[in-house]
Assembly symmetry: C2
């Protein structure tokens, strides 16, 4: 039985217990949410990984992407990024490698990583076919599904598969948009569909894909191939058309006893984010929603961790369950180790701001603790309890007159000291 | 006549023309907004400064705070911060100096600064009385109002004065909050009021203050002494009680022909921001709203430019007109020159995201330009048009395989290249 089937059968599995304890919620309540598909649990494929819950009523989770590219493949650096992401508090990690020995890289990541690991199997399918001298359109059903099965066997926890990009949607999109298709997996499929004049194989053979997912009990993350890559493309007919197909695929996955969540945009102006969240929850049967950003403007390469933090916070507030980080390097280059760290922290800030807004149990206890310490001029607690104590301390200590109870912003004119004086 | 009075008299002044041209709106429409107090124009006191408009229908403006403190007073560094702020695109600058020769520092800033300059005159009043050997409570009416007049004569464009902290509110706040009073000016007044057992002098002598503001035609920024300094303190009775007083003071300023806008929070969880914006506009007669942040969580010292960008974007979307920047150094120390730059850019991102959401004319043209360039793999335009071209270029160039039409994120597997191929 898969975890979903166990939950439906009334079983409180050890994975479910671990999540209930972390979230501080009743295991029976969580069991019902998992049975209904409103929560997905993942991370139980490898014994050294945390199990996490993603979905309704739980804290918003954060994913960090790492991985090589054809121009940049160094396993050691990717493992450094892995450590940086996990140290900074990422709840999950995706390996998006497309360069070097991608199987060996993935194995190393699976061995080392203590949080759930996701992949996008089409990358490996495409890399393999091109290394055999073929082109994208030469990929066969076996190339697509074979990789999924091999990765599942290795212990990958969740896989992004762009099953919803059906052939009738493929014609629509290239001409009507500012930025066309910006999903890498989506773009591979688009080329495959257009060149072969055939249906998306992940859609055509979805029943077989679900069998593999059921057998190995990994979670299916239904990718949004047509996510907008520019704010002027957001919430357009191709994006929503694909979402409607994804909604049907959620139903089929649930019928098959497979854990499923849904991926979402992308570049979205801030005022459209609430509608996008409501729409996904409605047409996808309240399946967990995993969003990339959203980035609320296109103007800030070098600062897209900030444009994504703005969008991610608003998305989480309005129901997004899982935020994929965006680093300062987005749109410019592969992230460095420092970029990974910045990306995780800024996305965690967004997730936490959303958790406060959506009333996640105990979320603002953290804020209260830090603010109380500030009000008591207890710098040790205020710094040590912050989201990145080493950064906070480094900045505080760099202050030319930094002392234990004085910051250079106000010095003797500190409002908190003044308030304490007036209270006394 | 003040600028407000000119607008009411039907005059299209040169300052008003400058703003209308910058915003791309009809001068007559702008004149009506200024006459009604829905827009404030400022920056006309010094010929070398830009004039800016703040308020309804205009792009959201960004302020940067600089200034010395008792533990950190170096004019050269403050002038470097000034240059960094203006170069990074700040629309206004506040000098909050409390250390060193604050009059000389302000004069240097006023001479050099090409955007409107604001101050918080109570700082100078308090510094002067303490240097004379007195304490805060010894400040006289003449100490408070005399500084306002001297600063006005020098060409300060707008002044933050905490007129709304009336005596009956002062008792309420210290005990009921996690973080008490965190406004520095507010805290000085609180101590003055409590120690002397008298009414806030800026409130008691508000008529005389308005006479000075009318004579020198500077804009009054009604400070929120009781802004929340922790998210658990937000939207509480002291904050809203002060806002109601401020609403009355807006009416009195308008009757006196004085330009007036209103300052707001502070630390506010994201879901309370829309209500805070609606409330201010309603009870303050649609006066422009100038917010500090808001910071949507307390947990992230070292990253408060990000917590404030999240809050600022949501605030601007829901009607805030003027965002005061927050730097990464907030809560830790005075900002460095680099912190100033980061603070301005992240606040400009928030302002722009808000402008797109509130439909400011032409706001998303900028996004469209960059996204079109991206889709055409025109790196030159995409980088040069971005909010911080030097940062974007530096990150792009640092890419190990950076070439003119390839980024290391995807390399040969670039989705944009693939989309172009499938289109062809």
């Amino acid at each position: 039985m898969t975890e979903v089937e166990k939950a439906r059968a009334g079983e409180i599995s050890s994975a479910l217990k671990e999540v209930a304890q972390f979230e501080g919620i009743d295991p029976e309540r969580l069991r019902v949410l998992v049975a209904d598909g409103r929560v997905v649990i993942t991370g139980y494929a490898r014994a050294h990984s945390r199990v996490i819950g993603i979905g309704e009523g739980l804290s918003t989770k954060v994913n960090a992407n790492i991985g090589t590219s054809p121009d940049h493949d160094d396993l050691a650096i990717e493992l450094e990024k892995l450590d940086a992401a996990v140290d900074a508090g990422a709840d999950a990690l995706m390996d998006l490698s497309t360069g070097g020995d991608i199987e060996a890289i993935r194995r190393s990541i699976l061995e080392r990583c203590t949080v759930p690991v996701g992949t996008v199997p089409i990358y490996q399918s495409i890399v393999e076919v091109t290394r055999r001298g073929g082109e994208i359109a030469d990929c066969t059903k076996e190339d697509f599904l074979g990789v999924v099965e091999r990765q599942a066997k290795e212990g990958v926890d969740f896989m992004t598969i762009h099953c919803g990009l059906v052939r009738r949607l493929a014609g629509d999109v290239a001409g009507s948009r500012t930025a066309g298709v910006v999903s890498r997996g989506g773009c591979f499929l688009l080329q495959w569909i257009v060149k072969n004049g055939r249906e998306n194989p992940y859609y055509e053979y979805y029943a077989e894909l679900l069998e593999i997912a059921h057998q190995y009990d990994f979670a299916l993350s239904l990718g949004d191939a047509l996510r907008p890559g520019a704010i002027t493309d957001s919430t357009d007919r191709p994006q929503i058309g694909e979402l409607l197909v994804i909604g049907e695929l959620v139903d089929r996955a649930r019928k098959a006893g497979v854990s499923v969540f849904v991926e979402g945009p992308g570049h979205v102006p801030i005022h459209e984010i609430p509608s996008n969240m409501i729409l996904q929850k409605k047409v996808c049967g309240a399946a967990p929603f995993y969003v990339l950003g959203p980035l609320v403007t296109d103007i800030a390469p070098g600062y897209d961790h900030i444009t994504a933090a703005i969008g991610g916070a608003v998305a989480a507030w309005h129901g997004a369950d899982f935020l994929c980080y965006v680093t300062p390097a987005e749109h410019l280059r592969l992230p460095s180790v420092a970029d990974v760290r910045d990306g995780v922290i800024s996305t965690r800030i967004a997730a936490h701001a959303g958790d406060i807004a959506k009333g996640v149990r105990g979320a603002n206890d953290w804020d209260r603790k830090i603010s109380r310490a500030r009000a008591e001029l207890d710098w040790e607690t205020a710094l040590d309890s912050s989201i990145d104590p080493s950064r906070a301390r480094e900045m505080f200590d760099a202050s030319p007159a930094g002392s234990e109870d004085l910051c250079t912003m106000c010095g003797e004119f500190c409002a908190i000291r003044g308030t304490r004086r007036s209270r006394e």
